[in-house]
């Protein structure tokens, strides 16, 4: 049963890596983003095929179980992505405000 999940997940990782590559070729992803997402999916693949790897890493960091490490790291990543998203939204909002201001001036000219 586990093998089936591992194979399914591997297909998913390959699909995810292909979509990362596609976004890179379309110019939607920078070098930092490419590095992050390739590393992320490769590590996820390694963790799925070799579950003990997370436990070894967790023990070396003083955390008892590999699953706990995965949860902690996931939380950090999720909070970071939320923060980035918040900044992006704010940035888009400010850009819209600038356009609205410029349009008001242009309408007056």
């Amino acid at each position: 049963m586990i093998k089936v999940f591992q194979i399914l997940f591997s297909c998913f990782v390959v699909f995810a890596l292909l979509s990362v590559y596609k976004r890179k070729t379309e110019g939607l992803l920078g070098p930092k983003g490419l590095f992050f997402w390739v590393l992320f999916w490769l590590l996820a693949g390694v963790a799925f095929w070799w579950p003990n790897s997370t436990t070894i890493l967790a023990n070396s960091l003083g955390i008892g179980r590999g699953a706990d490490l995965v949860i902690y790291v996931s939380l950090v990543i999720i909070f970071y992505l939320l923060f980035k998203l918040h900044i992006k939204l704010e940035s888009v909002g400010r850009d819209i405000a600038k356009v609205v201001g410029k349009k008001a001036i242009e309408d007056k000219k």
């Binding site: 704010e90 400010r94 008001a104 001036i105």
Partner: protein, 221 residues
Amino acid sequence: MFLAIVPAFNEEKNIGSVVRDLFNRGGVDQVVVIDDGSSDNTAEEAQKAGAEVLKHRLNCGQGTALQTGHEYAKMVGADFVVHFDADGQFLSTEISEAWEYLKDSKANILFGSRFLNKKSAIPFLKRVVLIPLGRLVNYFLGAIPLTDPQAGFRILDRIALEKIQIDQPRMAHATEILVKTKKHNLKYVEYPVYVIYHRFGQNFSGGLKIIKDLLLGKFVK
């Protein structure tokens, strides 16, 4: 030319009298009202009273409206601008004397203050909690030390107008202006003004939003 910049959002009841007062008692040459996406007749009322009206299609916030006013001021070649609220909380009669004071002091920017020798009826919570907190936040963000940390009444000369670009779209612009005054080494003065409270204004959650906006502003490019 002395231009009054009045950001307004749904102020159809007050804007006409504010604009007329600015012309009759404020000593300004022109009034520009930035209608910040109002859903009422603010723009029409301001126009009827003799103001130039710039219309924001969306409600973007007071900071953006003031920056639009700055762009307009540069376009028409204004020598001085005054920031004036649309809800009638400032007295237009104080503009002329404040303007004279600014010119005599050879400063670039004048900030109105509720805490000098004129005593406004400031709500207790605002006076005892929010304003001291505002001073503290301003101090940590590197703003110039003013008696009134959220002064909305300001007069800027052409140099200040060129140097101060308002990037904060909402209410955090008040602190941003103080930070940029320091950053650009602009000479500033404070001048006592009355503020008449028709409504409470910024409450505690509004203050937190300002802090959030200021912190976010550090990360937004």
